[in-house]
């Protein structure tokens, strides 16, 4: 069964169909591409600030400054990014409502949006403001945001034709871990990644033909699991390893990883609305 908003709200279709006629949708529709640009620019602002604020908690990026100083300088820009994605998202959503109503990726995007807001405002920012100290409130919001994030991932994994988009999550995690790890651990991690990529390429391009989908599918799925084990395993090691000596504790790092990745998943799901 395809999980869409229709499954939960089957009676809403006539209302959704009419949204395109409700102001301001008739104004937005002819300028759809321009509003898309504003949506992307907002996402860039949100993504850039989330990356810098949370990488600092992980122990990378702007390590010369305290997490609270980074928070103080970026919070208003991040607010602007969040407001931007919500406002432009509502506008382009109204102009394209029926497609979103029938899209599994849109459900993932909405769950990730809520999880992203919960993790950012409830956990990541308070932790950055407190220079890495994790309060009980932040722990609570980590649980709420984390549960929503996992729910979104669950829908993404089971979504036919869209679950390939999870490779974006893997790529982003792989990059963050590569940036965060230091010394010998970084090289071991990178070597492992290269070996996995080389073996996968050999199997899918030499041993199996590139057009033999029946054989390629299980191999690619197996490699998705292997990549996940290697990358998230390395992330787990990084959580408990002292790197440059200026990062926060394991729980604060977990919050930081989750906060960057939840926005990546939201953005990836948004992109896959167009593909499936």
């Amino acid at each position: 069964m395809k999980l869409t908003f229709e499954v939960f709200f089957p009676a809403l279709r006539p209302w959704v169909q009419n949204l395109v006629n409700v102001w301001p949708a008739p104004f937005v529709k002819p300028q759809f591409a321009s509003f898309e640009v504003l949506h992307i620019l907002s996402l860039i602002l949100l993504g850039g600030t989330a990356i810098l604020m949370n990488l600092r908690l992980v122990g990378a990026g702007m390590t010369d400054e305290t997490p609270s100083e980074i928070y103080r300088n970026l919070r208003r820009w991040q607010d602007l990014g969040v407001i931007g994605i919500v406002v432009t998202g509502v506008l382009i959503g109204m102009a394209n409502a029926e497609r979103l109503y029938d899209s599994t990726a849109f459900i993932v995007k909405m769950i990730a949006l809520v999880a992203g807001i919960v993790l950012t405002y409830g956990a990541s920012r308070p932790v950055a403001r407190a220079d890495g100290a994790v309060s009980n409130g932040a722990r609570f919001w980590l649980l709420v945001g984390g549960a929503l994030f996992l729910l979104g991932l669950g829908v993404f994994v089971t979504g036919t034709l869209i679950n390939v988009g999870l490779f974006h999550l893997l790529t982003a995690t792989a990059l963050i871990v590569l940036i965060a790890l230091t010394g010998r651990l970084r090289w071991i991690y990178l070597a492992g990644l290269i070996v996995l990529i080389a073996v996968q390429q050999y199997l899918t391009h030499v041993t199996i033909g590139t057009d033999d989908i029946a054989k390629l599918d299980p191999v690619n799925k197996t490699f998705f699991v292997l990549y996940s084990l290697w990358i998230f395993g390395a992330a787990a090691v990084q959580l408990f390893t002292k790197g440059r000596g200026r990062e926060a504790g394991a729980l604060a790092k977990l919050i930081a990883y989750a906060t960057i990745l939840v926005w990546v998943v939201g953005a990836a799901a948004g992109r896959w609305i167009a593909f499936a």
């Binding site: 640009v37 860039i44 600030t49 390590t63 970026l74 593909f275």
Partner: protein, 211 residues
């Protein structure tokens, strides 16, 4: 000559024997998921690339990190920007390989390249001229006007690159459609397989028929 090279790239490069053989370009465009993954990665990488370069530009404009030396912000943030750029460039190149002739005739793709060139030129000028006396203004909350102009130009040109990139899939000015003469010229539509159809000429013909 460029178009012929791109046609060869699209239709012949990597093509094996047999009637159903595909070139690398055709295989990439027709792939089940790979093109989507490349495109998704290209867009998502903007968060890393543009998101971090915007922060450096905002510091140079004197609107954020005013107490942090410019060199600290750029030394720590720009390596992330470069990593994002490498990923974006690699995926962008692969996406271009999938439909080189379509992009060649796209006004948005051409405009994107122009703004990309402006952004790159701005980086070169910043590093060779503006940055020369950085020690004198490194800790200033508001850097000198040359640095601020360079930052503003960087912001504008990257936003323009992103905007042009987003417009590429839209067919408002595709060759073969009745479009303004200037667009036909700018897109070299006369050389395309769809040809050039001038909107002005079409309007004249329609007007003549009406009379």
């Amino acid at each position: 000559m460029i178009r012929e090279a791109l046609v060869w790239l699209e239709a012949d490069l990597g093509k094996g024997a047999g009637d159903t053989a595909q070139s690398w370009s055709q295989a990439l465009e027709g792939s089940l998921n790979f093109w989507n993954l490349l495109e998704g990665t290209h867009v998502l990488t903007l968060m890393l690339f543009a998101g971090t370069i915007f922060v450096v530009d905002l510091r140079l404009l004197g609107v954020t990190f005013r107490r942090t030396p410019v060199s600290v912000v750029s030394d720590r943030v720009l390596p992330l920007t470069v990593a994002g750029f490498i990923l974006m460039f690699a995926t962008g190149l692969a996406l271009f390989l999938a439909k080189p002739v379509v992009y060649y005739h796209s006004i948005w793709f051409r405009a994107k390249l122009v703004f990309l060139a402006i952004a790159m030129l701005n980086i070169v000028i910043f590093h060779t001229r503006v940055q020369r006396n950085q020690a004198a203004w490194d800790t200033l909350a508001k850097p000198p006007s040359a640095a601020r102009i360079s930052a503003a130009l960087s912001l504008i040109s990257w936003i323009a690159v992103i905007t042009m990139g987003r417009f590429i899939p839209y067919n408002w000015f595709d060759c073969g459609k009745p479009i303004p003469h200037v667009m036909n010229v700018l897109e070299n539509c006369a050389a395309s397989e769809h040809g050039a159809v001038d909107k002005e000429s079409m309007a004249k013909i329609a007007g003549g028929r009406a009379q």
